[in-house]
């Protein structure tokens, strides 16, 4: 009962923090339109013909840009709370709808990358830790150092050349709806997810190695040995669970880089995700879309971080009741 209340309080507290963060982010996002140079109205009007001042004023009022900033802010925020992110200046389409379409695809890419990274990184890290100081360790550790040093776009280019252009095993780009053709959906996921996950795999492997080494030096491991527990059980049941706490943290910390990586990976593999949307919107100055997608990415990021912290709390009972 007490434990349950503790967990609940922990979750509520984290949730409150996340929501506060989101609110501030939303405010920052709103101000993007005012901070950034380049007049959206001119962009909207001026491709071939050159707009008259009256036309510009008319467009301004149509977009609500002639209102006082505070009024605009309040109405924008009210809309956001109701999940209404407004309409694209250029296309007129609902930003919320488009973000809702693109978000799952970025999320899928990111999650696939994390899964791949964990599947590679954790075993490699454990293997290096258990073979500490041997040639195996040196080889694996060197590989992970190389892994975190190779830029995403170089890796992506290499993978496309090898697996798409030379071997022809996997498609180089694009997205397929899972409902339309599930196997093709996953075939198209492989390369971008691997490209995105590779650096993370290296980070996870490094973190797993060092935290395994640290845990294996802890007193309770010796106590477990003194109980007569087998090494295998010590490692898989006790050491790994303890070591996973900093590893989960590193995954959380690396999410920023991972989400950042999607900007490059989505462009390279023509993956129709949020980053693609954002990059396009930035270059076309479609402010509502920029605001909407930045907000969505930040929200995604904040809530994944929240999830990480909650997992962290589950893994480590000490966190739940830490005194502040």
């Amino acid at each position: 009962m007490n434990a349950l209340a503790g967990i609940l309080a922990f979750v509520v507290q984290k949730l409150a923090t996340a929501l506060t963060q989101l609110f501030v982010v939303a405010t920052l996002v709103f101000s993007i339109m005012y901070i950034m140079p380049g007049d959206p109205v001119l962009l909207l009007l001026g491709s071939e013909s050159s707009p008259s001042p009256e036309t510009i004023a008319a467009m301004r009022s149509r977009l609500g840009l002639d209102q006082p900033v505070l009024t605009q802010y309040v109405s924008w925020l009210t809309d956001v709370v109701r999940f209404d992110l407004g309409n694209s200046i250029l296309g007129g389409y609902s930003v919320g709808q488009v973000v809702a379409d693109n978000l799952p695809r970025t999320l899928e890419l990111g999650l696939a990358a994390i899964v791949i990274a964990s599947l590679i990184g954790v075993p490699v890290g454990i293997a290096a830790a258990l073979n500490r100081g041997t040639l195996v360790d040196t080889a694996l550790t060197s590989m992970t150092t190389i892994g975190i040093s190779v830029p995403v776009y170089i890796l992506g280019a290499l993978l496309i050349i090898l697996f798409s252009l030379q071997l022809g095993w996997l498609p180089s780009s694009g997205y397929m709806d899972i409902g339309r053709n599930a196997p093709e959906h996953f075939r198209r996921l492989v390369l971008p997810a691997f490209t995105l996950g590779f650096g993370l795999a290296a980070s996870i492997a490094r973190m797993t190695r060092s935290s395994m080494l640290e845990i294996l030096n802890r007193d309770f491991i010796r106590a477990l040995r003194a109980k007569g527990m087998s090494e295998r059980r010590i490692i898989w049941q006790h050491a790994l669970r303890n070591a996973s706490i900093p590893v989960v943290t590193i995954i959380g910390l690396q999410l920023g880089n991972l989400m950042g990586g999607t900007v490059l990976v989505e462009a390279m593999f023509n993956w129709p995700g949020l980053s693609t949307l954002l990059v396009d919107a930035v270059s076309s100055r479609d402010y509502p879309v920029v605001q909407g997608s930045v907000l969505a990415i930040a929200a995604l990021f904040i809530f994944i971080n929240l999830a990480v912290e909650l997992i962290y709390g589950l893994l480590d009972p000490r966190i739940r009741r830490r005194r502040t």
Binding site: F220, R222, A223
Partner: protein, 561 residues
């Protein structure tokens, strides 16, 4: 039953194998309690790890045999050894909280330990675990089983460790400093449990400790180790009545013991030790100065901390210091004793104004400094100095000793020839003058504490607050530092507020005593009076819990009651 023959253990290093334990032999028969005594670095823990086969990877047995029930353990492979561990030989470690896996509940860990060696169901194992805890008089075993290690106290964790160790009725229990991390009253309880288990289960116990008092309490026989060698082996009575080896004698002498106040503690001489001649046992104590009027008076001092376990959790009030009043006469020492969490450190921080008090007065030389602004407080600070517990933590690792000692002079100014003053101070605390150019990590714990003392004395303060200043030190080093403190008190006309959990030490150094519990002073008075005839129940319990050489526990309790 256990016979260790000529055991030698060495550490692998770049320069080859460094022998650390050399040619240690001893026997242990069934049901016997053998105390293995030594200071840090004596090789006692390594010896025990060698027995159970859990040496760190860079250490290895270089010679000898460990025969357990007729089998040489060193000849067994890992799998065979594993079958013995936990079932026939189990081990209890110094730090019970760190020795439990933090992410599993205690219940899971006990059950796991039971199931490791016996093929029984989880329900059965659970009942067995609860039974074990009940036998140790653990209150509310079901709740303890549900708890994670960090939610329990050190004493409770140690009981869980013991429950696991005795779960499969081992023939031998190796207990490595099982009570060192615990408060004295808890230590009492744990020792009781060990003793009773020894009787009930019939297991032999190899008790490794630096604390002669603990050994005296429960050991049948004692072996003494120093520098990796076994120096002496004898029955308990023999070793305490007629110690043969000089080291043993010195060790016994150097230990402040309740009821045996001496002006100075003899120190242990070691070959090539850098400790200075001043601290030699033979040096004559300077005459103590006459007590004067109170230099420090604390009146009704209170401090409440607000603790919030979560954003929405209820804020809890924690009364760390509750209406405390005390007074220290000039040139005397007030000993403040209490168990961990009693508020004694909070009190010292309040007096130093490192924490802001809620209410009350702190009269220093008659001036209330409790509410002074930091600016107004500044000139007062040069007259109050502090020596902290942890000799490794209280010196900034990035500053040389010279810089560290001159820090107060830099802050307050007023000393013309700082290098000279530093040299004088180094002399005073018995450190070589070239120590000034070195950095703290180049010194041992005792030496660092001397540096900290030198720093405290830099501006000729009138009051020095020593917060557990000798608690982290070995017995012999502790003796040196205590002597030094006494000498300096006489030489520089110092007044001490001496805070410690160790009653023997406090008794040794103090003129007056204040006993603290749960934020309050429960009893205060002259040291002799309090130790001879404690008025309060708590003081009595505290005193009864301290192991005392030469007095059997039962006698002690009777006498106090």
């Amino acid at each position: 039953m256990l016979s260790v023959e000529g055991l030698s253990i060495g550490f692998q290093s770049q320069d080859g194998v460094v022998p650390t334990v050399q040619n240690v032999s001893f026997n242990l028969s069934a049901g016997e309690v053998l105390g293995l005594v030594g200071e840090s670095g004596s090789g006692k823990t390594l010896t025990s790890l060698g027995v159970i086969g859990l040496l760190p990877p860079n250490a290895s047995v270089t010679a000898g045999r460990v025969v357990f029930e007729g089998v040489d353990l060193l000849s067994l492979n890992q799998a065979e050894m594993r079958k013995l561990r936990g079932r026939r030989i189990s081990m209890i470690f110094q730090d019970p909280v760190a020795s439990l896996d933090p992410v599993f509940t205690c219940g899971d860990q006990i059950i796991e330990a039971i199931q490791l060696h016996e093929k029984i169901g989880r329900g059965e194992a659970y009942r067995r675990a609860v039974a074990l805890l009940e036998r140790e008089h653990v209150k509310d075993p079901a709740r303890v089983m549900r708890s994670y290690p960090h939610e329990l106290s050190g004493g409770q964790c140690q009981r869980i460790m013991i429950a696991m160790a005795v779960a499969s009725r081992p023939q031998l229990i190796i207990a490595d400093e099982p009570t060192t991390a615990l408060d004295v009253t808890v230590q009492r309880q744990v020792l009781d449990i060990l003793e009773r288990l020894n009787e009930e289960v019939g297991a032999a116990i190899l008790l490794i400790t630096h604390d002669l008092g603990v050994v005296y309490e429960i050991a049948d026989r004692v072996i003494v180790m120093n520098g990796g060698r076994l120096l002496e082996e004898a029955t308990r009575d023999e070793i305490f009545r007629r110690p043969q080896h000089d080291y043993t004698k010195a060790l016994l002498d150097a230990m402040p013991a309740l009821g045996k106040r001496r002006d100075r503690l003899p120190v242990i001489e070691r070959g090539g030790a850098t400790d200075a001649p001043r601290a030699m046992a033979s040096a004559a104590p300077p005459a103590p100065r006459e007590p004067g009027p109170p230099i420090l008076e604390v009146r009704d001092l209170s401090k409440t901390f607000l603790i919030k376990s979560g954003m929405l959790a209820q804020t809890q009030r924690y009364q760390a210091v509750d209406n405390v009043s005390l007074s220290i006469a000039r040139h005397t020492t007030l000993g403040l004793v209490g168990e961990s969490g009693c508020g004694k450190t909070s009190l010292s921080r309040l007096i130093m104004r490192l924490t802001e008090p809620d209410s009350g007065q702190i009269l220093f030389n008659g001036t209330d400094i409790a509410q002074l602004s930091e600016r107004r407080l500044f000139p007062v600070r040069r007259n109050i100095a502090m020596v902290f517990q942890n000799p490794f933590g209280s010196l900034n690792p990035r500053l040389s000793v010279q810089e560290a000692i001159s820090a107060p002079m830099q802050i307050h100014g007023g000393v013309a020839d700082r290098p000279r003053r530093v040299a004088d101070l180094l002399d005073a605390v018995g450190l070589p003058r070239n120590a000034g150019q070195k950095y703290p990590h180049e010194f041992s714990g005792g030496q660092r504490q001397r540096i900290a003392i030198a720093r405290a004395l830099a501006l000729n303060p009138s009051l020095v607050i020593c917060d557990e200043a000798v608690s982290a030190l070995d017995v012999s080093v502790q003796a040196q530092v205590l002597n030094l403190l006494k000498d300096l008190q006489a030489e520089f006309a110092l007044t001490y507020l001496f805070i410690s959990h160790d009653l023997s030490v406090v008794e040794h150094i103090s003129d007056t005593i204040a006993v603290m519990r749960a934020g309050r002073i429960v009893e205060t008075g002259p040291a002799d009076a309090i130790f001879a005839a404690p008025q309060e129940e708590y003081t009595r319990i505290l005193l009864a819990a301290v192991p005392r050489i030469g007095i059997e526990r039962e006698d002690r309790q009777e006498r106090l009651q």
